[in-house]
Amino acid sequence: MDQRFGLNAHVTLPGPLVLDSGAMLAPVEIAYETYGTLNADASNAILICHALTGDQHVASPHPRTGKPGWWARMVGAGLPIDPARHFIVCANVLGSCMGSSGPASTNPETGTPYGMAFPVITIRDMVRTQAMLLDHLGVKRLEAVVGGSMGGMQALSWAATYPARVAACVVIAATARHSAQNIAFHEVGRQAVMADPNWRDGDYYDADPPAAGLAVARMAAHITYLSEAGLTAKFGRKLQDRGAKTFGFDADFQVESYLRHQGLSFTDRFDANAYLYITRAMDYFDLAEEHGGMLAHAFRGTSTRFCVVSFDTDWLYPTRESRTIVQALNAAGAPASFVELSSPFGHDAFLLESPELRRIVDGFLRAGA
């Protein structure tokens, strides 16, 4: 059995990886999983890129929470991305905390965790790291790169950075650049972490982590993943396990209790510094800026096929952001599909049950096979 393939895989590549910031990273740790078998001509590989707080466990249980893989609705037997047909790769992004190099990793210069000494990274740096992994796995060209949210940004960055290595690109509930509002919400989250006295300029790895700050960051962010209608339908003004308001500051309302739970449970599985670094990478993302201010130039001469999907209640990365991508693709003459799907669940819809999304991704992927 080739140690490079399978679940809970890990590789240490010597690097150095030259980052957009100019800094160099060495070595480069990558935690990843593969599903299915790479065929003889290495033509059936699909790279799945995960979102901000996602991980490599796309279709296997999360090691800490025990929950099913985060995209088990899309990846698995009989599903659009199927280990029986595809060689599926999902890697923990650079800067994260599930085994790939990030601020919690050991700094070889000091023998202690990097903390804020970890270099600031970009979406393109994440993509470069994934390219190094694919080299290691013997994959020259991807049948498809697929991602939602920040994963969609990586998919776009893949198509722009390595056009010859990507046959097809699926971009779901994403954007080609972070808007002022996107940056603003992230800054609230970062400031919440940094305002926690336990944060200690990021040097907390031998003490209590800034869990309270990180929980608040997650609460604020979580609201942006839902829709107002969805929140109203789920919680309304319903009270939590009580008959009347308490005239205090307990979680009287169900929505408060829900958000507190979301915040707290997040701190069990995520590193606060990693949250700072990854949100920064997202805020720095502006694919047009990387190409002289013209998004169409990012895709000039591309032969990659694109499928862009948005959700009508997603106000984090609304449909108009997807349209901007599609207009650039049309201007570049790229083969592109785009559809806005209807869902009450806001940005999170891409992770939830959606037969229509499955049908689209399946048809799109099969068309290139």
């Binding site: 599609v326 599909s337 806005e340 799907l341 689209i360 048809g363 799109f364």
Partner: protein, 195 residues
Amino acid sequence: MSLRPDLAIIADHVEPGARVLDIGCGDGALMAALRDGRRVDARGLEIDSANVSAAIARGLSVVQGDADVDLAGYPDKSFDYAILSQTLQTARNPHLVLDQLLRIGERAFVSFPNFAHWRVRASLLWGGRMPVTNVLPERWYDTPNIHHVTIDDFRALLKERRIAVEGAWFLNRGRPTSSAAANFRAEHAVFLLKR
């Protein structure tokens, strides 16, 4: 599956290997026929989400969008043919859509139901009611057809905007009918245009 007669005419007259933009492509029936039968590089634009999903699921490149606003993003002469079938009469600004078609495509196919067909005339003249026919099945209040047009109206528009006709086909009950008296006898018209 057989194509709608106006689409069959278009499919028969698109050169193999051409680049085609099908505007208002529905579920992609024509695109699929062009792709499979004539190795055409077909792209589509369609306003209805369910149609777009169906077209993507059959492996076609289709973008959800509105002909009135979303054609502006396509570069000049980026297609050999721009096709507008049964969509002209639903546009808010049909004349501007026509301009976009001839900007984006070297040539354009336009098909539309003829509002001067005798059955339509009879319905209005004798019945005094807005016509509901095979080719115009919706009632006046729920029809997407907001700019009814006749063959002679369309010819006049082409003349006014100096658009050349390279081909014209007329259909009655799915069968070809002659150009003479087409404005009275044809339910459908298909024009091949160039500017």
